[in-house]
Structures are given as C-alpha cells and as structure tokens.
C-alpha cells in the first residue's frame, strides 16, 4: 500500500510532554503539579453571559474576524493596558486560542527557507508550527544566569540574512521569566536594525508579579513589525473556551484572516460573547487570581530556599523552574523517579527544549493546600537523593 502520510509531519517529534502524560495517567492517586492551565473556574458572570447568549439563540457563525464588539473591547483593553492603538476593523483577528494565532501567523508570513528564531525553553508549539510552514527553526538557548531572559546579543548572534521572525514568548512558560522594558528596548533595536518581525506571545501578560507587563509592540517603531498574540485562557481562566486573538499590521492580519476563514471559519460564538463580558467587567477577577498566584509563588520560592533547591525568582505566568543539576541526573530521570517514588508529577524541563535539561517545570495553578502536600513530598525526595549521593561519596 502507498504511504498515506506526509513526510513533513512524520518527521516532527511528538510533544515531549506526551510521553510523561501517558505514564501519569496510568497512576490513579498521583498528585500533579504538571498542569498548564488555571485552577480557577471561569468567573461566573462570564459563564453566565455565555449561557445567556445561548438562551438568546446566538448560535450562528460570527464574521470571520470575530464579533466586532469583541474586537473593539480588545482594542480598548490594549489601549488602557499597553497604550497601543489598534484598528478593530483591520488589525485584529479573533482565533481559536492563542495557539491558532501562532500557527496561522507563521503560515501567513513564512516562505520556505526563512528562518524563525525560537528562544527555548518555551511553549511546545512554535517549532512544529514553524516546520509545517517550511521554515527553518533556529533555536536560541536561554540561560539560567540571565534568569532565562532573552538578550539582544543572543538575538544578534542568531540572525542571518534569512531570518524573518523572532518569537518572543514572555511572560514565559515554562520558566516564569519576564522581559522588562529595558530588556525589550535592546531587543527592539536589533529587530529594527535587521528588519525582521516579532511574534510576541503574550498569553500570560496579565500574570506578572513585578510591575505591569510591557508589550514590545508598545515600543517606538515596533507596532508595524509585531504580531501581538494574547487570549482569554490564562487571564480569565477560560482555557476550555478556546479563544485568543492576534493584533498586528493590516497586511499580515488580512492574510491570517484568509487562512482562518478557510480553515476555521470563525472562533466559537458562545466564547466570543462570554469574552466581551470578561473584558468589560473582569478586571477584579483577574486581580483576585493574580494575587492568589502571587501568594503561591512566594510560598514556593520560600520553600525552595529553605530546601536549598537552586531556583531564580520567577515574576510571570504560574510556573517555577528549579534547577536539579546537583543530583546528577537528567530532568527526565528526576521526574520519573519523583513520580514513581513520591507519586508527584512535574514536567521535565526538556519537554520545552533541550536547554531545559537540568530543570523542572512546577506549576502553581493549584491550591495552597495541594502545593504544601506536594512540596512536603519534594522535600522528602530530595533529602533522600542527597543522602544517596553522600553515601556514594
């Protein structure tokens, strides 16, 4: 029989997270710190608005770009939070999660052979999406000593005359790193100098714990070369609603809308109505959730310090990225043994890029009670490892 598959897709490695997921789901009583989504329910007034829209019979397609009212609310939000002015009619596209925006953004901009700069550790989909377009992904390995921030020099060193897009994944999953204004200004200089574009994935923009998030699109000369991606999953605890958006130059958004129109038609209508309510009246909910994440973050930073586990203080998202190199095992070995011996699931740093070796991603999208329980087990486990190591020496 003829091979039914595409060579391109077969050559793409499955997500490193998948393997671990299979082991964990076999274990019934495991505690997980491996989740990349909020533990909060979507705020009730937002859910209620979704229900109301269904009762009203709002069950049809929306326009391809998404509800005009929602695009307007997104523009209002970006104006008040970042002071960036977007035109809701031509510079905004509502997508099925931020993920779709990453995919079609790359597809709209890449010609085969173009190079895409991907800082890692980072979210798992940039590299495969780039490969699907025929781009050449160029990985930038972020460094622990820079607290996993991207430096202008790292970008400069990776740029060739084929470079077209820099992916900017901050606040970062899995490291929790953020980029502050000065960091971004340095990057912007390089981007402008080499005439490349930025895809800025700001899905965790509302979850920062050291001043407000700054978007690179707000810097002079950057709006016209940035695709800003955000969505409702993390800020409003709306992962299952699958709703995100992209904002950028009209020429790019127009082509993205074309792909979206043919591949998706429009983002889910119910979710769009709920999202309007989230943007209009959801600020207090976001504040409440942010404060809660921040308390858990401080709890973990303090707990790691007390355990003597090396870790930089993360200021974004809801992840902490401790270093486990002192134990002389790989991230995978550590995570596997931790799961088998203590029944706690964490994600090996390598699931987010090779340079995640020696680190773990621990999510704090869990109640304090659960975190305390799991951290107690982590302490027990690393004490055991240290004893083993001492016995060997």
């Amino acid at each position: 029989m003829r091979n039914p598959l595409s060579d391109t897709i077969v050559q793409i490695k499955p997500s490193g997270i998948r393997k671990f997921f299979d082991i964990v789901s076999e274990m019934k009583d495991a505690i997980s710190l491996g989740v990349g989504e909020p533990d909060f329910d979507t705020p009730w007034h937002v859910r209620e608005e979704g229900i109301y829209s269904l009762e009203k019979g709002k069950t049809f397609y929306t326009s391809n770009s998404g509800l005009k009212e929602l695009r307007q609310e997104i523009c209002n939000y970006l104006k008040r939070s970042q002071d960036i002015t977007y035109d809701p009619l031509h510079e905004v596209l509502i997508t099925v999660g931020g993920s779709e925006a990453i995919d079609i953004g790359l597809r709209a901009m890449i010609n085969p052979g173009d190079e895409v700069l991907i800082p890692q550790p980072s979210y798992v989909s940039y590299e495969p999406c780039a490969l699907l377009t025929g781009a050449k992904p160029v990985i930038i390995n972020l460094k622990a000593e820079n607290e996993f921030r991207l430096t202008a020099k790292e970008v400069e060193d990776a740029i060739t005359d084929k470079t077209k897009i820099l992916i900017l994944p901050f606040p970062n999953n899995p490291t929790g790193a953020i980029m502050e204004k000065e960091d971004l200004e340095a990057i912007a200089d390089v981007v402008i100098k080499h005439d490349i574009y930025v895809m800025s994935d700001e899905i965790y923009a509302e979850l920062t714990y050291k001043g407000k998030h700054v978007s690179i699109a707000s810097l002079p000369g950057m709006k016209e070369r940035t695709i800003l991606i955000n969505g409702f999953s993390k800020a409003y605890a709306m992962t299952g609603w699958r709703l995100g958006y992209a904002c950028g130059p009209e020429a790019i958004i127009k082509q993205m809308t074309k792909i979206h129109q043919f591949a998706i038609m429009c983002a889910p209508t119910t979710s769009q109505y709920a999202a309007v309510e989230a943007l209009k009246n959801g600020d207090a909910d976001v504040d409440m959730m942010r404060e809660s994440y921040n308390q858990r973050r401080r709890f973990l930073v303090n707990a790691f310090k007390e355990m003597g586990l090396e870790c930089f203080e993360p200021f974004g998202a809801f992840y902490i990225f401790p270093c486990i190199k002192e134990f002389g095992m790989t991230s995978d070995e550590f995570a596997t043994r931790f799961l088998e011996e203590e029944k706690v699931a964490v994600v090996p740093g390598t699931a987010f890029g090779d340079c995640g070796e020696g680190f773990l991603r621990i999510s704090y999208a869990y109640s304090l009670e659960k975190l305390k329980l799991a951290i107690g087990k982590l302490e027990h486990f690393i004490t055991k490892l240290r004893e083993e190591k001492a016995a060997k020496e």
């Binding site: 997270i17 789901s25 491996g34 989740v35 990349g36 989504e37 308390q295 401080r298 699931a345």
Partner: protein
C-alpha cells in the same frame, strides 16, 4: 504600604483564620515582625473582631433552627434605633442584628434549638417590646452558601494531569 499589607492580610484570614503568622508573612511577601504588628494593631483597633469557624450543623447530630425576623419599630427621640437594637442584641440567641433601609427596620437573625423555642422568643420577648410595631418570621429551610462558602461543595479537579 502598610494599608496595602493590612488589606491583603484581611483578605487571606477572612478565608482562612487558622493560617499562622509565619506563613502569612511568606504569602504576602513581608517580614514576619511587620505581619505580627499589623495583626496586633487590627485586633486592638477592632478591625478584627473575632475569629470564628463556619460550621455546617446539618452534618452533626445537633439540632438547630435559624430564623430571619423582620422587625418594624418606632425609633425613639434622641436615640434613634440604637437603644431598641441594644435591647434585642443582648439576647444571646440573637446571632446577628442589622438596621436596614426599606420596608422594615431591623433584621434579627435568631438561632434556637427548636421551632417552638424560636417562636416563643418572637412572641414573648420580641413582639412585646413596646417600640416594636410588627414582626415577620422566616425560617431558614436550607443553607446553600454562607460567608462566601458554598455548603456541600465537592469540587473535583477535572483538569488533565499534564498539559503544556
């Protein structure tokens, strides 16, 4: 800064008053001594009035009846509602007492062992006060939510164990 600390502490202990001071300090990112001082200050100035426990009595064998009683009264010259309120709230079976706007004046929340106990309080004690014009008693049949907590809320984490 200090006010902000107090506000965050209050929000935390309103949900969980058993949390210890050392942990509170970690959660709000402050020195333990500052937290101790702030808490003492708030206890002294009456911001923190008491530490209670929210109990679902239905889970116990102890019988309790709770009633909300709307009371219309004649306010007294020079004292308004305060003196009549004091006469009512001094009864230990009165759990809460509020002065309200609207169709009636005082809302009494009363707790008794039996229906009879509650009704005799209303007819013997409350209705006979000379400034009380009328009372309307509502018995609570079921408590769904109290102090921001949903009773019988058995939430399970339905998220996948590992997601990117």
């Amino acid at each position: 800064m200090k006010e902000q600390l107090k506000e965050e502490l209050l929000k935390l202990i309103e949900r969980n008053s058993r949390i210890d001071l050392k942990e509170l300090a970690v959660l709000v990112g402050a020195e333990e001594i500052d937290v101790v001082n702030a808490m003492e200050e708030m206890e002294k100035d009456g911001t923190i009035c008491a530490y209670h426990t929210l109990i679902n009595w239905e889970k116990t064998s102890i019988e309790k009846v709770t009633a909300l009683i709307e009371v219309r009264v004649t306010p007294q010259r020079g004292q308004g509602f305060d003196s009549i309120a004091e006469r009512i709230y001094n009864y230990p079976e009165v759990r809460s007492l509020y002065l309200l706007s609207g169709g009636f004046d005082l809302m009494v929340i009363l707790e008794g062992k039996t229906l009879r106990e509650v009704s005799s309080f209303v007819s013997d004690k409350l209705a006979t006060m000379e400034t009380v014009l009328s009372t309307t008693t509502h018995f609570i049949l079921k408590k769904y939510k109290d102090h921001g907590t949903i009773m019988n809320d058995k939430k399970v984490d339905e998220r996948e164990m590992i997601t990117p």
